[in-house]
Amino acid sequence: MPKPAGEEKQQKAFGWAATDESGTLSPFHFSRRENGDEDVTLKILYCGVCHSDLHNLTNEWGFTSYPVVPGHEIVGVTTKVGKNVTKFKVGDGVGVGVMVGSCKTCECCQQDLENYCSQIIFTYNSHNPDGTKNYGGYSDMIVVDQRYVLRFPDSLPLDAGAPLLCAGITVYSPMKYYGMTEAGKHLGVAGLGGLGHVAVKIAKAFGLKVTVISTSPQKESEAINRLGADAFLASSDTAKMKSAIGSMDYIIDTVSAVHPLFPLLSLLKVNGKLVTLGLPNKPLELPVFPLVSGRKLVGGSDFGGMKETQEMLDFCAKHNIAADIELIRIDEINSAMERLARSDVRYRFVIDVANSLSAVG
């Protein structure tokens, strides 16, 4: 039985938080619970900067509770384990992703789909049943129930592997669920950012033919030469877009801004599937005719359950897949956020927490 807030012993923690809708981050002292019987405490080494962090910082979605410490692509080393913890020991490399709690008893939780539990507790900007608030990975340490901690494969680089904890699972899960892993089939990846670039790598590992669809023609060389995409389609090139009509079996749409769906739906073959992963704060325009006339579908997906996240990490380790990152210091985070807003990053910022975050005073 969790003790009422205030009675639970708390320990000091330190990170960077935003305190208002300007989204500007600055040093912030807070507290976390002490390590319980089911808990794993990790010293945070790296934390990826996800676009959701930016959405949350500026309250774009309207449900930010300030002060907010973002960060849900957390990699660290275990410093403490509770007495019921069997999967991890001190010194293990571990990861924490988008969630740190769920009800554990509903159908979703029982089917390893904790990410769809109606009582999900997100890693940050959330509250626990006892009323205490959760803070994310732009901080020095975190305490998490073992069920929501991932074992970080030894062969995965800790820094470049961090973004897999959100970006990686966010594209891997729908590829499995919507049956987009048949070798030889043609996948379109719309948007070449944090999600998109990992989608290209994972799709190639599944043996798919991959075309990147992007509004930035200058990304073509990177897409093909560095990321391994088979083709590139600049969405402003109307002739090329027209000739690609009805050529794709599936599309993963990673674009986070409001954007037209019609051109993407046209690229799909009959029975084609479009998975939309971005979370704009306004609805998308959905032309129904292409769905009806081609029996196409538009589906969503929300990161992944713990079992599948572990499976994804192991898959990436096996196929040498990690994110392409730009390592930054914590005090560079605000300018990184400005650049992220302009999509000026190849393709994920990762904060070198251990080497740049130091408590002041």
Binding site: V270, P283, V288, V292, L297, V298, G300, D302
Partner: protein, 361 residues
């Protein structure tokens, strides 16, 4: 204009056609091709009035070719078969739906999905292989390639079977394809018209629990007592919507007017499916959050292939599924169209062609 002069085709025929965008139908003489070796010629006995007919006579979609003889829910009795016809013989009860031709060689055709063939030929208002324009079932006789003719079992009355050929297959196919045909699932049907009422009957016969979702409280009694729905939800009642949140495995949306998707997505359980069958004039608003947070999907469907259409007819015969019809005389057709525009029909007009289409001297 037809490519081949009408006078050259051997068989005289007559029907009712619209000659301009007023959509007013009037008696019209034309001729059909001779019965080719793969063709089936039949005397038309009944023809259902589909809402698409109303769109086509008024050229709502901009594709109409006048004179237009509508009708793609056609049933009748075989009068002649070509030398290579194997499945059917003179005297057989048959039906023809929305298509009379396809390429027979593409992936779709090979997979019994002629309805998605890019060269599919509509039963009326389309260019046939010989350059003529196809004329539909508001006529006394038709000649159709055997491949696109289905047999109608003896125990299905012809007048009540006619609407199955478009409305029936249009709801049957997605119930199967999207897996909403499993006993015990909770399926919603939005809109109680030609499509909707058959969706209720098919879904019930498949063993699902069915809730009709409608803006009209007046339809409740019908839905529950006549059609066999398990429950009824008035979509304008916020309390009812709130109470039903997250309780549906799937929803079949037959509404073609503009309408909000958000409440329907909210009604779905996680992993729920929204099937859209109506084609609104403008795009609909698709909110990304509910799709993503519940891993829900939205898919379209359009009629069905020939194999599945026959399967649907046989299923209907086995389960005693008939359309609820208002049988009318041919010369009532214009009044019927006016009433259809207002939704004033339970639930399909069917023209008694055999008894009321008078030949034109």
């Amino acid at each position: 204009m037809t490519g081949l002069s009408e006078e050259v085709r051997p068989n005289k025929a007559f029907g009712w056609a619209a000659i301009d965008t007023s959509g007013v139908l009037s008696p019209f003489k034309f001729s059909t091709r001779g019965t080719g070796e793969k063709d089936v010629a039949f005397k038309v006995l009944y023809c259902g009035i589909c809402h698409s007919d109303l769109h086509m006579i008024k050229n709502d979609w901009g594709t109409s070719i006048y004179p237009l003889v509508p009708g793609h829910e056609v049933v009748g009795e075989v009068t002649e078969v070509g030398s290579k016809v194997q499945k059917l013989k003179v005297g057989d009860r048959v039906g023809v739906g929305c298509m009379v031709g396809s390429c027979h060689s593409c992936d779709n055709c090979t997979n019994n999905l002629e309805n998605y063939c890019p060269e599919m030929i509509f039963t009326y208002g389309a260019k046939y292989y010989d350059g003529t324009v196809t004329y539909g079932g508001y006529s006394n006789t038709m000649v159709v390639d055997e491949h696109f003719v289905v047999g109608i079992p003896e125990n299905l009355p012809l007048d009540a079977a006619a609407p199955l050929l478009c409305a029936g297959i249009t709801v049957y196919s997605p119930l199967r394809f999207y897996g909403l045909d499993k006993p015990g699932l909770h399926v919603g049907v939005v809109g109680l018209g030609g499509l909707g009422h058959l969706a209720v009957k098919f879904a019930k016969a498949m063993g699902t629990k069915v809730t009709v979702i409608s803006t009209s409280p007046s339809k409740q009694k019908e839905a529950l007592e006549n059609l066999g729905a398990d429950s009824f939800l008035v979509s304008r009642e916020q309390d009812q919507l709130r109470a039903a949140i997250g309780t549906f495995d799937g929803i079949v949306d037959t509404v073609s007017a503009q309408h909000p998707l958000l409440p329907l997505l909210g009604l779905l359980k996680s992993h729920g499916k929204l099937v859209v069958l109506g084609i609104p004039e403008k795009p609909l608003e698709l909110p990304a959050f509910p799709l993503i947070q519940g891993r829900k999907l939205l898919g379209g469907s359009m009629i069905g292939g020939m194999k599945e259409t026959q399967e649907m007819i046989d299923f209907a015969a086995e389960h005693g599924i008939k359309a609820d019809t208002e049988v009318i005389a041919m010369d009532y057709v214009n009044a019927a169209m006016d009433r259809l525009l207002k939704g004033d029909v339970k639930y399909r007009f069917v023209i008694d062609i055999g008894n009321t289409l008078k030949s034109i001297s």
